[in-house]
Each structure stands twice: as C-alpha cells, then as structure tokens.
Amino acid sequence: MMFVTPILVAALCGALTHLIARVWRPDQLFFVQLGRELTPADRRRSRRAVAIGWLGSAGSVAVALASPGPAGAAASAALITVAVGWPLVELLLLLPTLDRPELPGRIRIDLGPRPGPTALMSMPLAALELGLLAVAVLLFVTLWPALPDQVPLHFAMDGTPDRYGSPVELVLFGGLVLFDIGLAWVIAYTVSSERAALPEESAERFAELQQARRYGLVRMTQTLLFGVNVGLLTMAVGIAASVVADPLLSTGLAVGVGLAVVAVGIIAPLVYWLPRMTALRSALDALGAAEIGTRREGWKLGGLFYYAPDDPALFVPKRVGIGQTLNMGRGAAWAVIVLLVGLPLAFVGLMSLLG
C-alpha cells in the first residue's frame, strides 16, 4: 500500500485537473489528438468520456471517504481506473477512423551543418547554474561541521517539521540538481540532432520555423530546469543555514521559499514559451509536413506506433496529434521507456521508504 497510495493520489489529481479543464468544453476532449474538425460523433464520445470521468472520480473519492478499509481502497482504485481509462479507450477506438494525408514521397534534405547543443542552449545561464551550484556546495561544506546529527527534513502544511533525519539526506538535493543539468544537455543534444527532412515546397521557410522550434524547446526546458535547480539549492542550503544560524528561525520558511522558487521556475518559462511554441507548431503544420521524412511503412496500427529499424532517428514527429514519438525499432527507445517508467517509480519508492 505504501507504494500504491502516492500513485493513486497522483492519478486522481491528474484526472481531476484534466476534467476541470473540460467543464467548459466537454465536447472537445479529443481535439488535440484528432487534429481535425470535430464531427457530432466525436463530440458525443467526448461528452460521454468526460461524464464517466467525472462520475468515476467523484465516486472514487466518495468510496474512499466512506470506507477507509482495504475493500474501500480497492473499490476506489477500480473507479479511478475507469475514470482515467475510459477516455483512453474512446480515443483508441477513434484512431482508426482518422483519415491521415499520405506522406509526401518527395522530400528535401538539408545538408548544411546544424547548430549543436551549445548553440541552442544559453551558455550564460548554464554557467550561472554551475556557479550557483558551486556557491551552494561551498556554503554547505562551511555549514557541515556545525550541523546537528538530526535536521528537519519533512514539514507539515503549517511549516513545522514532522520528520527529522541525517543531514546526509540534504546531499540528495545536489544529486537532483546534477541530474537536472545532465537532463538539459541530453534534451539539447536530442533536439539538435533531429532529422533535417524538409517538404519540397517552402523548404526554406520550413527550415526557419523548425530551427525556431528547436531553439524554443531547448530554451524552455533549460530555463525550467534552471528554476527547479535554484529552488532545490535554496531549500538544501536554507535548511542547513537555518538549523545552524538560529534554531528559532523556521526551517519551514526556507523550504517554503524554495518551493515558491520551484513553482515560479516552472510556471514562468511555460507562460512565456508555450504560446510561442504552439504558434510555431501550427505554422509548421500549415506547411503540411508534421511527420515529414518518416517511413510510410514504419507506421503501425494506423499510425499509432513507429517501428523502423532502418531509420536512425530515435524521436520522430507523431502522425497523430502534436509532439514526438519514439522509433520502437531502436533499442534505445526501449531504454527510454524503462527510464521514463522506472525513474518515477524509483522516486516514489524511495520517498515511501524514507517517509
């Protein structure tokens, strides 16, 4: 149960957020995925999925509150599974009805050199990040001898500590920051080595837009991860400093400030970049070349999966909706999936063990 509870809570929050967003437009649940004018049948399916989502979520909460025992938890989990799963099933049933345009046979390939990850990333920001990490490590090392055996590590909603532990656990924050920095580089490298296929018509314009999109994608994730890292470092150093400096000074305050920095760090880049990225995406789509350069025979199950062992690309533009999908013909794709599924599970497991 230790592992299941946080996952259930996360699923519930996700489903509720999604459904609340659909209160105003319950008929447009599949708009993004379908990427076409919605038919009356699409709208009917959407309304039904939203209604079932709402009823299932509400029922799940009601059952969990009414009977806190294992039976209640199981019934609650079953209801939330239906609430979240139904729209997915509806979408899967809709996919084969999509009429997708034929992939163009003729494409143009840009042979020119491409800007690498360092050209896409902001180097001053990357340097600043490393500088801040160095300052935080210095501060932490200075404070280390003065730290007591037990420091507060977890806080109740009112900011009072409810769990204490060894200060060694604070080092974990540094590990997370290093992971984030590595992640930003991996994303920049992946984006910079995307395929260079262009439509035959308006190739120059397409290349320009494509490059602007790559730049935006890398800058958005880099700024976002920078914000998260500054928040994490504030938390770690804040906790250590407040414990050493003045026991009366609330360590909860340091954590609160850190969390606020993380929140701003995530929201601000999204508010700035998302509208720009959406505009770029629709401009690219208008040139009619979402999945340009992919292999026609690579798309399986009506364009749901891409499997082309010959194609060196790991990420390819999706045939359905927006974004990228993995080339399942590459071994690395399976490694990415194991990482994506395994990391959150490992994190939740670790947190459950510690908490």
């Binding site: 992939l103 046979g105 003729r106 494409i107 143009r108 390939i109 840009d110 042979l111 020119g112 050199p113 491409r114 080595s193 395929r195 260079a196 296929a197 262009l198 035959e200 190739a203 120059e204 290349a207 350069g293 992919t294 292999r295 026609r296 082309a308 010959d310 194609d311 060196p312 690309a313």
Partner: protein, 136 residues
C-alpha cells in the same frame, strides 16, 4: 541552403538518389573542390536511412572520381579531372537515352527538350573546349 531531393516513391534506390543529389551539387558548383561532404552518420540521420546506405552513395561518387574518401577524414570533393575523357560514359549515355525516350513518348516537343537540356548544362557550368585544365 544546401539541399538534395529524395523521392521515396521512386524505383531508384535511395543510395543512388543520394549520390545523384550530391553529384548535382558538385556539378552546379554548390559543392566546390576541397569542400567536405556531410559526415556519413549526420547525413544518415538527416535522410532517415542506415549509414551503410550513405556510405554506399559516397563509394559510388569515389568510384567516379568525384570524392576523396580517406579513412579517418571527412570525404572531400575533388575537382574535375585535368583531361576531359574522349567519350561520354556508356552508362550515362544509356540513362540519358532512357530519359529522352520517356520525354519523347510523353509528347513534349523538341525545342522544349533542347531548352531544358541547355538550362541544365548552363547550371552545371560544363567545361568549354577552351578550358584545358580544371581547377585542380
């Protein structure tokens, strides 16, 4: 922008299309003698094909004496040979004939075809009889 066009619907194999595309860029001067061709891995990723396919295209160009392939270094464009060959390559003649037959049977008139061939040759800066030696 340096581009080549590929047609996935064509019967011509991709390695041949890549070689033809690069040959066109060399002929019309967009790739000059001494210029490095894109790396095999880079081009493979850009085209979306196995790097062996690209390597095969490069070997084809090397066989024609257009590209210098040296282990451990980037493939480089070589200038046209100092001496013009006495006759047009037999394989080229066959392909040209096939293309002209296709055009003739489609009913395009002779003047249009001649103008087209003239335009292409102009683009490729064919060496005039007076040019004794190439750039390299």
């Amino acid at each position: 922008m340096l581009t080549i066009t590929l047609d996935h619907d064509s019967d011509v194999p991709i390695y041949r299309q890549v070689a033809d595309g690069l040959r066109g860029l060399i002929a019309d001067g967009q790739l000059a003698p001494g210029d490095a061709l894109p790396g095999v891995r880079h081009l493979g990723r850009a085209v979306g094909v196995n790097l062996n396919t690209v390597a095969r295209a490069y070997r084809l160009l090397a066989k024609d004496g257009l590209v210098d392939l040296r282990r451990g270094a980037a493939a480089r464009v070589i200038g046209p040979p100092a001496e013009a060959p006495a006759a047009v390559d037999a394989d080229d003649v066959r392909r040209l004939e096939a293309a002209l037959a296709h055009i003739a049977l489609s009913g395009v008139d002779r003047a249009t075809v001649e103008a087209l061939v003239g335009d292409i040759l102009d683009r490729f800066q064919t060496r005039k009889p007076s040019d004794k030696a190439g750039p390299r």
